[in-house]
Symmetry: C2
């Protein structure tokens, strides 16, 4: 029996998608083999890949001045690909926001290839309050400004995109992609690891403005965005299974009503959970209200000695993976698209009962 899975990543996939997969795993459309066993150059896989790409473009409403690339290595490889592709010998300056653990990793890699100006940092606030764009110190001579849109570990994000600076913005959207509509035209480059809202681990999607696709003969072909754009992301064998399954997730999202519908559903899920936490004296979420993520909801109990009991009993109740990140402890509910509203209801009911018994 399927349970509710609040894992931060790799995370829940829609049950309907996995059911479809199960039907096809030995024999895709009576072809006598699985998609995993087909050449990436076959017309079948090329069509699966192109359809997935187009569905993603439709969902995100991406203009033709952008290309969409499917790349291995996760967001962590993007931490390097971004500076290796966007910095030049004549301009190796870049702006970074320091808004959490993933920002710090991105900054560390960028420093190997460029000069990093920290435009804003929330480290003094323990990453609990996302700095307002009005307070960013942006060096406008820099090649780009990099920001992690939603920090998965701390559950803080930037949701108001009104006052973003008018520079080339590079956004890590790993844990918020496809959760709500996003105005792609405000960004130069967006990337996201697949294993949260897209599909299985082993894939990252990059949305890149086409003028940034430049041939670089001094970096590996596999690290050059142009290699992927020129080859429809099939310069070498791509992770065909992850791509195929991601395509099924995109169809599922489209059939559900696209990102406007997801926004409503996700806000409703998040509001219910935050609302309950805020109404309780037993639980708390200490992220600045304006910065609260609708995808990752960390919470604490006043009595931390109850943490292990909470995690053991919630697992018994069929609510999986509610532990906080190993670097911060506590609890965290990651409520990505594939976690249904019923999962939130079940979680809140469990939390109420747990409070009653232990409060």
């Amino acid at each position: 029996m399927r349970k509710f899975n609040f894992c931060a990543g790799p995370s829940a996939l829609p049950t309907e998608v996995l059911e479809e997969l199960r039907e096809e795993i030995l024999d895709w459309k009576s072809q006598g083999l699985s998609v995993m066993e087909m050449s990436h150059r076959s017309k079948e896989v090329v069509e699966i890949a192109e359809t997935a790409k187009q569905d993603f473009i439709d969902l995100m409403n991406i203009g033709s001045d952008y290309d969409v690339l499917f790349i291995q290595g996760g967001a962590s490889l993007q931490f390097s690909m971004v500076p290796m592709n966007l910095l030049t010998p004549s301009n190796a300056l870049c702006n970074y926001l320091n808004v959490g653990q993933w920002s710090k990793k991105a900054i560390k890699e960028a420093k190997k290839y460029g000069d990093v100006n920290i435009s804003a940092s929330s480290e003094e606030d323990s990453f609990k309050k996302y700095p307002s764009p009005n307070d960013w110190k942006v060096d406008e001579n820099a090649s780009y400004l990099h920001l992690v849109m939603n920090e998965t570990i701390d559950g803080a994000c930037i949701r108001n995109h009104e006052n973003l600076p008018d520079v080339d913005l590079v956004a890590d959207c790993s844990s918020c992609i496809l959760s709500e509509p996003l105005d792609v035209s405000k960004f130069a480059l967006i990337y996201a690891g697949a294993q949260k809202n897209i599909g299985p681990a082993g894939l990252a999607i990059v949305i890149i403005r086409r003028d940034l696709l430049t041939e670089k003969n001094d970096i590996p072909a596999m690290m050059n965005y142009k290699t992927y754009s020129d080859s429809d992301s099939m310069y070498n064998t791509p992770p065909t299974f992850a791509w195929y399954l991601s395509g099924k997730v995109f169809k599922w999202l489209k059939n559900k009503g696209g990102l406007e519908n997801q926004k409503k559903e996700n806000e409703s899920k998040a509001n219910k959970l935050y609302g309950f936490i805020d109404s309780s004296d037993f639980y708390k979420n200490d992220v600045d209200i304006e910065s609260r993520s609708i995808m990752n909801v960390p919470f604490l109990m006043n009595d931390e000695s109850l943490n292990q009991k909470f995690l053991a009993e919630s697992e018994q109740a069929g609510l999986l993976n509610l532990g906080g990140h190993r670097s911060v402890g506590g609890m965290r509910a990651s409520i990505y698209n594939a976690v249904p509203p019923a999962g939130i209801d079940a979680l809140v009911e469990f939390m109420k009962d747990f409070e009653k018994e232990n409060g």
Copy 2:
């Protein structure tokens, strides 16, 4: 109904493995979720990953002076990781064999980071005859010598490993790994893309002698072998599904009797196919007999105008993906571990019938 699949990659997976996968895809061991949906830090996934690694070590009989790494990006990323990790400012010289299309790609990437000495080339022989180690011009001051052990496109390989030079050898074994026993101790580093004899695309396995694991602060963390070794290949989210399924393939191989058994089975399969081709005046294989691959068997008909008919009718007969690589044309049967002996029998029967009707 499952058909016989001769695809060069991504290629056939054992039906038994896919059947096991199908059972687990919605609910792994009654845990209420699939392996794809579990944290890579969970004890379950860590155990799956460690077991897969150990089974691979057992199959290949790898000594403790080597580590085994699970990396994204396929063999094509290794073309860059090898020189980025093994070359140094004080020694940027490396030897490469030019024995096919994949060798050429590896050489192109190495030239971005070092000075490449071509120790031998079979290009004048259209890559149909693997150069004998006795004829290699090895610069012994170089950091390493790189060779592609089995060239998938042309079907030529080096099978006799008696006279390999006593230098650090780096071998791309993508299309021959696990096909027969290999004396790992003769090599400094071995790598292989998964999508032929290991598992689904999106994973490469690297076997590296531990003294070559060095911290490199001037290359991306994701490109440094030491990052993977220090983190049990979990520095970032690894491709957990590909790793899990590869583990099932390793168990399947162990249960079948390991690589000694595979060698017997694969040689028997290859001998049957080459034997039939050689006995026929209608088909031919033009690879030097000593260099013939036991994994990739290209063949031609004297009348090339029959190629399309052959491919269409073989597909009708349930024999899939027999087309040669787009760069060379003709036909090719890739007969990896997951292609059973019965697949060879069916192919030979079909080829006989086709010859009768069209010869």
